[in-house]
Structures are given as C-alpha cells and as structure tokens.
Symmetry: C2
C-alpha cells in the first residue's frame, strides 16, 4: 500500500465514507430480514384465510345435513380458524412496522452515503430498496386476493343462509298445510 | 449450543433483532466518525479565526508605523487568513451536514432496535447519541467564543480607525498651522 494511500485512508472523509458504507450494508441486511419476515407472514395470513374459506364452504355445503354434534365440531374448527386468521394478521402488522422502519432507515442511508461520498454504496442500497418494495407489493397481492375471496364467501354465505331459512319456512308451511289437510 | 437455541436463532424475530443490532452498531460508528470530524473542523475554524484576530490586532498596533511594502504584506496575510476562515467554515458546514444525517439515522436506529426487540442495542445507541450531542455542544462553544472575539476585534478596529483618521486630520491641521506660522 503506497504511503499517500495510507494517509488518505486515515482522513476524516475516508473514514466517514467507509462508516457510511457499513451503515448501508447493515441497513440492507436489516431490510432483507424484515422483507423476508413480512413476505412469510403475508403468505401465512393468506393460507389461514384460504383454510377459513374452505371450512366456511364446507359448512354451507353441508347445511342441514349434519347432526348437531357434527355441526358443533365444524363450528369449533371455523372459530379456531377465525382466531388463527386474527393472529396471522397481527403478525403481519408487527412485521410491517419493522419493515417500514427498515425502509425508512435504508432511504436515509441512501442520502447519508451520498453526502459522505460513498456513491456506490448509495446506489446499491437504493436498488435493494426497490427490490424489497416490489417483493412486498407482490406478496400483498396474494393476501389481498385471499381477502377478496373471503369477502365473496361471506356474500355467498348470506345468500345461502337466506335461501336455507326460506326453505325451512317453506317446509314448516307445507307441514302446516299437511296438518290442515289431515284435519 | 442446545437444539432449541439453534432453532430460536433461525427465527425471523431473532434474525431481525440481530440485524437491528448491527444497524445500531454501524450507525454508532458513523456517528462517532462524523462527530470527530465536526469537532476537528470546529477546532480548525476557531484556530483560523484566532489567527485572523491576531493579524488584525497586529495591523491595528502598527497603524501608521509600517512602510507601504510592510503594510501591503500584512494586508496580504490578513486576506489569506480571511480566505482560510471561509474555507474552514465551509468545511464545518460540510461535516455538520453529514453529522446531522448520522444523528438522524442513529435516532431512527434507536426506534428500529426497540421495535425489533433489541432493547440493549437501543439503549446503547441512545447513550452514544447523547454523548455525541454533548461533545458537539462543547466544540461549538469554542467556535462561538472565537466568533465573539472576532466581532470584538472588528468593533475595536472601527474605533481605532476612527481615532487614527482623526489623528491624521489633526496632524494635517497642525501641519497647516505650522505652514501658516511660517508664512
């Protein structure tokens, strides 16, 4: 290492530039970890919603065909799955909070690296920010799709329940008429 | 290492907590480097101002006693020192910018570490932020004191120059009277 380079390496500007690069590196790692956690939690949430939808549909398909005991155990499963969805959603919110912090720190690291003369580090972390944003956008499509299907299922449920109650009333009416005819 | 601990170490929460700790470490280093640079640049600025004050006082002390060549070279020194003060001030502003970024990133790292469950790292960097702030406050007292003395010297200069001009006019008057007496 030439002497002039050694001297340069000890200057404030050089030390600041290096320290800023290390900040961008660690912010990138923090961003990656929080991005992966948020992607996984969004996927877990979507999976939990899909399971809930499947149980809900099973309930509608078997409406009036189950014994009270079978009906009860299916309702227990649905309620457990409803709690699971709530848990998964709160986990998503937790990781979304840390991910947002990681994004904010990373965006600030872009600027800090730039003013410190660490242009390459600044460009690298800016690229990582864009990547993280597009990965999260993609993962959120999955959970939004699950939410949409759950809303559809709920609308279906309301209609089917209305039909079922109409059917029950109709049966009562027919039974009542049969009774009158027997009279 | 027990098996359960290994598993724990691979969880999202654990990886995020570690990554957040590394962010606080690197932000602390960045803060230290920018703090040292700003302290040095403030000291260099104060030194340059004191040198300018000394030259200014030398000029006032020798007013009317120097040859035009000596007067000229002293003025050159004063002008060079004035330029030096301007350079040092712009260096202070440069390091103040990077230091402010380092403070902002560090403050955000305090929060990020906290929400990530890295409480100890959060406390450590908060302490480093307070230390950096008090070191800079102290260093700024030195440069503010230099500024105050420079302002005093300028006020002195205005007074002395006024006295000197009055003295010159007086001398002219006396010379004029002497001329009249010779008449």
């Amino acid at each position: 290492v030439p002497f002039t380079q050694q001297v340069e390496n000890l200057s404030h500007d050089s030390l600041i530039r290096r320290a800023a690069s290390v900040v961008t590196d660690s912010s990138s790692t923090f961003l990656s970890q929080t991005t992966l956690a948020l992607i996984d939690s969004l996927a877990d949430y979507a999976k939990a919603v899909h399971t809930r939808i499947a149980l809900q549909r099973q309930y509608l398909a078997t409406l009036g065909k189950l014994s009270p005991a079978e009906d009860d155990s299916l309702w227990k499963l649905i309620n457990n799955q409803r709690a699971e969805v709530t848990d998964r959603l709160s986990q998503c919110k937790h990781y979304e909070t840390t991910w947002t912090f990681a994004m904010d720190i990373s965006k600030m690291a872009v600027e800090a690296a730039y003013v410190s003369g660490a242009e390459q580090a600044s460009i690298t972390i800016r690229t990582n920010i864009q990547l993280a944003q597009s990965q999260i956008d993609e993962a959120k499509k999955g959970s939004a799709e699950a939410d949409r299907k759950l809303a559809e299922t709920k609308a279906d449920e309301i209609q089917r329940m209305a039909e079922y109650h109409a059917f029950l009333q109709n049966n009562d009416h027919e039974m009542h008429e049969a009774y009158l005819r027997e009279d």
